[in-house]
Amino acid sequence: MAAIEVTGLRKVYGGVTAVDGLDLSVGEGEVVALLGPNGAGKTTTVEILEGYRTRDAGTVSVLGHDPQTGGRALRERLGIVLQEAGFEDNFTPRELIRLHAGYYPHPKPVAEVITLTGLDDKADARVRTLSGGQRRRLDLALGIVGDPDLLFLDEPTTGFDPSARRRAWDLVQGLRNLGATILLTTHYLDEAEHLADRVVVIDHGRVVAQGTPEELAATAGAATVIAFRMPSGLDGADLPVLGLDRRIAGSVVEVRTETPTVDVATIANWAIARGVELDDLTLARPRLEDVYLDLVGEQALGETEPDTAAPTSTSTRAR
């Protein structure tokens, strides 16, 4: 039986359709990552599954319950790590974990949860003295203390340092090995690649692609990527015809190709003929990131980049 079964889910906020006929199925023991640009409907979908929000249309089943009416019986089997939720910061992590442990029928030992989430050093300090990453670990601790069958992780490692991130990944894999089903949303594609059995890409409230990272690469038609640095003094017009298309970002050239052997030979001969060395020449399988950008378009990336129109904004301010 599927742990999560969603068909035709719709949610509208005052005229804006956040989720638009979404279908999703997550098998028991599966780890599924939801990917998508900001505003794609990930958090709305997850919060409907968690029972925080009502749906406007569609059917939803979570561990066999409708989350809108599932109540305590369902909640005893769920673990939820919200994207953004605060703490009563006059309390210590140990106190809060203890408090939450008291809500569940079969909680994990408090000390174990503290160690698992790497909070040993801060377990008895008031929450207000915790750093952002430490708070996020406490979030995670409160989500897993009930030893859930199904765990929702909404951007679980945002703000973690690299080693904390690795530890969180190990923790999630440990839970998965014990049979827990996990649905996570993330902006880190390496996280999805590392943790998820299956990736579901959402945009404009719909599923635009899903499968293992390898399957996604195949369905999206992405090809192998040849990358190198443009030799100084030359530009794109000097290059030979290569591959399916090419991107030039700064001095880095990326060529997508379905015939890597031929194209590598072409570019190598071109370079030898001109007596130049191609720095940083690599041949790579497409990364999830390439697939993702192909699917949701690069404007999603542009939105989050720093303001490139700095001179304009300066002159506006001067006026």
């Binding site: 925080y52 305590r72 909640r75 919200l82 939720a85 703490f87 569940y104 994990k108 030992p109």
Partner: protein, 565 residues
Amino acid sequence: MTTVAAVRHPVASSWTSDPGMLWRQTRHELVSLRRTPITLILSIGLPLLFFVLLSALFGNQQVEEGGVRLVQFLAPGMASFGVVMATFSFLAVGLAEARATGVVKRQSGAPVPRWVLIAGRVCAALVLGLVSTALVLGAGLAFYDLLVPSRSVLAIVVTLVIASACFSALGLALAMALPSMQLTVAVSNGIVIPLAFISDMFMMSGRMPDWLATIGWLFPLKHLTAIFANALNPHLSGSGFELDHLAVIALWGLAGAAVTTVQLSRDRDRDSSRAAPQRTSRARARRRLADASPCRTSAPSIAALVSGQVGHAQSVLWRNASAVFFAVAFPVLLVAIIPAVNGGGDQLMKDGQSLGVFYAGTMAIYGAAVTAYVNMPQGVAEARDRGVLKRTGGTPLPAGALLVGRVVGAVGVALLTGVVIVGVAALAFHPAWPPGLLAAAVVLVVSAICFAVVGLAVMTFVHSAQALTGVTLGTLLPLAFISDVFIVGATFPPVLDAVSWFFPLRPASAAMSTALAPQLSGSGLALGHLAVLLAWTLAAGAVLRWRFSWESMESRSRQPARRSA
């Protein structure tokens, strides 16, 4: 680029000149003030409200020949109260909050001079103080025939400015010296309110013991009240400038400025990331040992869930220094002070009740109201603001267990406050043991439950914790004045009288007085009053059931948005 730079420089310099920055900083502080209803209520609303209420109740009494009314002696105290709340308390709490939320840290990374940031706050406080005083005097002039002699107008304004500057310096010094915002709120109120009582603000000097009066003269507040009182005294002549009183105020101000300057120059790292001291009592060690194994292996019963919530609610309340001051220390303090400044707690009232026992009863009710109606819902609203409730909503804990736990937790704090009050009253006044003490405890519990449920119901209509404090304090304090809590035996206009009996506070204090009466009639339970409390509890409970949610209405109907994208 060159044109941009050429345009930018001259414009920028006029905006970033020091006076320009000071003006903008002041404006910014005033805007932020306008958006913080609780600050406005405490600094402007409260003195005005006290003045209007007291004037309406007593102001028309003619205290001497020639038609001079009591309001003439009420206005100076309330004007001083306004000044001190607008400058001292406002600045202390405002600066502490800005530090706690990291605003000060961010500002200190900007190229604005530090004195501009401080002076901006002080200027805003000055405006606030002037407005507050003007409102009190204006209301007196307009409605209560207050006489403001033209001889002393200049003196009033000059005194006001000097006093505002001095109280500002003291407020800043306090905020700089204390480590956290909650502590600053508690300490600043802990200083102002008792001082107000011994500084002639509520006109009690005539009956105050000498030693208390002497203590009053050591602090600047009483001197300010004295200057205003003499300036408004229709029998005196002269310009109203009182250099001796002003000198005391100025000395305090200089001391405050010195402390502030020293603290500023020390420029300590005030990041609050100091780890809490690790306490290793045996009980703690035992509980930590228990953490090593699961705390249960079956679904928790509702009783276990509720009792866990009661304990948690108690911790929430006791760890908030400001809440503890207002709900526990303040009523206890008033039990000691009010009877003392009114001629002693062993004085008998008309019905044979001693003043000390009477105030012990009403202060227990008042403490219960502050804990259950103001502080507890405030804690829940803060949890809602921060998303703590949302997270709890995702756990198996039923909403009912959480709410019942909070209500019972508040009742526990109210009962403890009551016990401390009884202890203080017994030590201070040695009254005869009231026969209806058990009935009084019942009244206290019923009242606290009622206040708590009503407070939670009110919370469901208010979108933020900050706004909630404005609403709850803004309703509780005026009601306290017309509900025989602070003032007793006043006669009210019929409408006000009806209003006071409609809301639960007056029935609660009346039921308490009945229970504590020296001649107990029956069980001591005033069933009529208790029925009013029960009706409020049921109605508010229904509202709570209908409207309670883990998130505020606002965030439920909105698409989830990343605040930090």
